[in-house]
């Protein structure tokens, strides 16, 4: 389910079946011209990627809005805010949280995040409409779906 009105109405009636949060983590910045294209592209891929995961597992996961942060920010501050989001979800109750990101800098702080960090290396550019991209994302999604299922 996504955080949109239509899905939330269904969620409210089926809370006991929805126990997993998916939180995409995506960097944002306007400085550093060289990295702009790459990071914007990765954000687009991340959004498609997480939506596809949500489609496969609609009935049990909640895809919440992407958590954006400045690329070069102090990670400690962000961690405490992210954990605040997690605590809020846990009161509902949600049992599991998966953070999905293409930003490798989170890997170092994995233990401080109150959930499971899934970091994937991503491509820097490419054509969204191409067949290769479709099948690449589809294959990755099915692997991630298997991984998430193993936690249930």
């Amino acid at each position: 389910m996504k955080w949109i009105k239509k899905d939330l109405q269904q969620y409210i009636n089926a809370k006991e079946y929805v126990d997993t949060i998916i939180m995409p983590l995506s960097p944002y910045h306007l400085s550093k011209d060289n990295d702009l294209g790459k990071n914007a592209f990765q954000r687009e891929v991340l959004s498609v990627f997480t939506k596809e995961i949500e489609t496969e597992l609609t009935g049990r996961v909640m895809l919440i809005p992407t958590y954006h942060y400045l690329k070069n920010t102090n990670k400690q501050d962000e961690i405490s805010r992210i954990n605040e989001w997690v605590h809020d979800a846990e009161t509902q109750p949600f049992q599991q949280t998966f953070f999905i990101t293409f930003d490798s800098s989170w890997k170092k702080y994995e233990n401080e995040l109150e959930g499971t960090l899934l970091w994937f290396p991503s491509m820097h550019s490419g054509d969204f409409q191409s067949k290769e991209m479709h099948s690449f994302i589809r294959d990755q999604v099915s692997e991630v779906v298997d991984l998430i299922r193993s936690y249930w």
Binding site: Y17, T55, E56, L57, G59
Partner: protein, 170 residues
């Protein structure tokens, strides 16, 4: 043609031009009206709602296989391509069946033999919902309805799928 230069009177000239321009304007007005009147006839052949899913009929076996395709969808603000999927196979009477993979419980995607414990069944990974091969829900699992079935037709040996309809309507 006479060699003498034909003299066109002012009256004639005006008549010709006015008829010409008038006719042109009338045609301009009538054409869209005509088009509107004929439009419903043209529509089904233009595209219909059926989409070629890229699967040849001869490749369809009794083993369900997943096909994915894209359809254009206009959604108020966005015009986008959305992906659709189906499990396609031939049943015991050699009829093609195309089942929607959307679980009738809460909408996860089911897969054929998705669990080793339940061979020959569709399995929903979210809450262990199960369906028999013909799409009927297995009693005492979360789903309460059978899987939707796609409208289908075959043209030039290729499978075309339309909308997914709840069982009984398809």
């Amino acid at each position: 043609m006479s060699e003498k230069k034909q003299q066109v009177s002012r009256r004639q000239f005006l008549n010709y031009t006015l008829t010409g321009v008038g006719g042109f304007m009338a045609a301009g007005m009538l054409a869209p009206m005509l088009r509107m009147a004929v439009d419903p006839v043209l529509k089904p052949s233009a595209a219909g709602d059926f989409v070629n899913v890229g699967l040849a009929v001869e490749d369809i076996t009794t083993e369900p296989q997943r096909v994915d395709w894209l359809v254009e969808q206009v959604d108020g603000w966005y015009e986008s391509e959305v992906s659709r999927s189906a499990w396609v196979f031939k049943d015991e009477n050699d009829n093609i069946k195309a089942l929607s993979p959307i679980c009738k419980h809460l909408g996860c995607v089911v897969s054929w033999e998705g669990s080793e414990d339940y061979p020959n069944e569709f399995f929903c990974p979210c809450h262990d919902g199960r369906y028999y091969k013909d799409g009927t829900n297995v009693p005492n699992t979360p789903p309460l309805e059978p899987l939707d079935e796609y409208e289908q037709k075959v043209e030039n040996g290729m499978l075309f799928l339309g909308m997914a309809k709840p069982r009984g309507e398809a």
